[in-house]
Amino acid sequence: MRSAKRYDALIIGSGASGGMAAKELTARGFQVLVLEAGPPVNPARDFSTHTWPYQMMYRGFGPPGWKLQEQWMQDTASFYSRHFYVKDSEHPYTTDPGKPFMWVRARIVGGKTLHWGRLSWRLSDLDFKAASHDGFGDDWPISYEELAPYYDQVEEFIGVSGNADGLPHVPDGKYMPAMPMNCGENLLRKGAEKTGRLAIAMRVAMLTGQPKPFMKGRRKCHYCGHCGDGCDVNAMFNSVASTLPVAAATGRLTLRPNSIVRHIITDTNTGKATGVAFVDRVTREEQEAYARVIVVAASTLESTRILLNSKSRHHPQGLGNSSGVLGHYLVDHFGGIGASGFFPILAGRDPINEDGKATGIFIPRFRNLDAKTRHPKFLRGYGFECGSGTSMFPGMARRLISGFGPEFKKQVRRYYTAPVGMTVRAAMLSRFENYAEIDPDGVVDAWGVPVLKMHIQYSDNELEMAKDAADTSEEILRAAGAEVVSTGGQLTAPGRIIHELGTARMGNDPKTSVLNKFNQMHDVSNVFVTDGAAFVASANHNPTLTILALTIRACEYLTGEYKRGNL
């Protein structure tokens, strides 16, 4: 069964990149079809921003064992937000013994933007040209200067709060006012400075100032602290509130939810893409849709899965894989290492209403910036995400306070503003041997689509970095005057930080990369991959801002090529 219509552009995915591509291409006059694998989202029904625990069965924790049955890999899914995430039972993937990978996925209109962490950092040439800096791996085919104007456009459109801090390796952008630091965070900032490190306000995609005229339906953040459950005032950037409505307003957007793409269809003569084959998630009907250009934005690994599943006579190893690089250079950031404790100076202070600030402070990378900061045991670097205070369920109670009843409650109140924690966000080196492939033993998902098998583990570089981060976090916390309760920890398994990147990387050489510097496939000129799959290296910063900037840039280039008849 097929759709008679041939669209100008077909976009796979409606998350950060897919939504931005829809906005950009409809604005440039394209008739666009967006296929989203998951269901539509209805904020009035699906967001539970202001739902109190006592309004929920099991006080919001869900029935015992619910997560183990359906969503054991969806680390950040809570019973409030579980419908934003896939059911692992329907969406398997496989791993090697002892090499776990945690794949957190959102198949829903809006994708992971419905519950993302919102941290919005620009990468710098320390990241784009990392190989030239330290000799490992490959440089990106673009520089910061080339991407900077697109970062400007993204920040202007989505709204990012933050400060201009003047750090060359964390370039400044166009910001709304930063969220203020609380007492504990100011103490931690001073402690970091004592050890020669800086601590800055996190830059987050949340409206802290008056929404601009084009931000229709969006309001200022009111600090309720439930961003991950769906933001009912649209203060946080997501596709559903931001990019997709703007695209729809052009009258040129068609969105089809519940459409699971099996593969990209190619012309048997030319090898160029002509459309996609997809299955309806609900009815399980097999369907096809056609377009002149395909934009693959299904999320890093889903995009690569679709490309690997798109084998044909012209593309026997999968679409765009003449180099054999597709699926390789898989990276994530790692976390799980840090320190936590509490500030005795804040214990006993009257609790104040500061627990809804859904962000904290950041200690930017301080290793391997130059010869003076070079570390003898590892390349690249890491930063710390830090925060102080407590939220609705005071987790510090479990470790700091024992007992029950009135005395327990008294102690919880006593320590309410005192906890402090630091956790690392660290770069992982891009290595060919970390990769995803179509499961060679034929495992499929609930719709019969072949799944991925992940092969990924950390190298000595990451382990040495973790050791340094564990030691440094404790040093900073003690310098800040905190009583340290725990240090060290375990590195998160790859995937858990949900910054999976690479696998269809950009490059100037078609023999060692899948995409050119404009996210266009070397092998098939009318296919663009605009999500995190295009990354050459991970840096140590959250990737979404860069994904959005790359998407705008790719769409600008795509439009020019389309008009010139090159696609």
Binding site: T94, K99, G336
Partner: protein, 229 residues
Amino acid sequence: MPIRIMELQRNTSRAPAKLHTIHGLLRGRTFEGEFDAGEKTYRFSFAPAVCSLVQNKLVLRGRMTIQSPQSGLRQLDDVAARLIAAQGGVAGSPIRRQLLTGTAQTAQTATSDQKMEQEKGPETELQPGLHAFDSPRRDELGRPVVESTGSLAFVGVLYFHLSPLDAPALGIPMNLERVQLGGRLAPTDDTARDLQLLFSDLVAALDGERPDEKAASASLEIINRILKG
């Protein structure tokens, strides 16, 4: 302006749809779960009675029971489930304990430290993305270890291909010629916990970096003993 939703024709094909996957949790010795077919929900259980290695792959054989909303209980015996792949666990691994048989060298006695580890979930209260730091472990070079690897490794899901199932006999209006069973190992009882450890050891012995036939055979022997009750 509302987003336009794409409409396509309805499929009029009469061929029965394929059931690709079913998913069950290991409870005791039995995988239990449910699946949807033809707008109805069916409960199923697969109770392996014996296991063996065929061409270096684990094969479980046992009884498949389907509870149909219309036809009641239906059973098929000697259903084979051939292990094709596995997924390593991340979250809470099982409490390591001495098997009741007392013969498995790979299962470890639970310690209070290990037990504590099971009981601690991710610490996310302070800020989104923060994680627990309270289980520091170091490798021989003094570096932190990676969760769910090394001595903490375990298998979370076993993916099996089932032998072709007789759909009419089971009362299911779907093509059941090639059904994949996802067997989730999230034990809540001692038998399932023992089996998870043994399946984990078996998978490591068969598909790990250093395949070990002797270890695989030892695990297989104990699994068979447990399956026989």
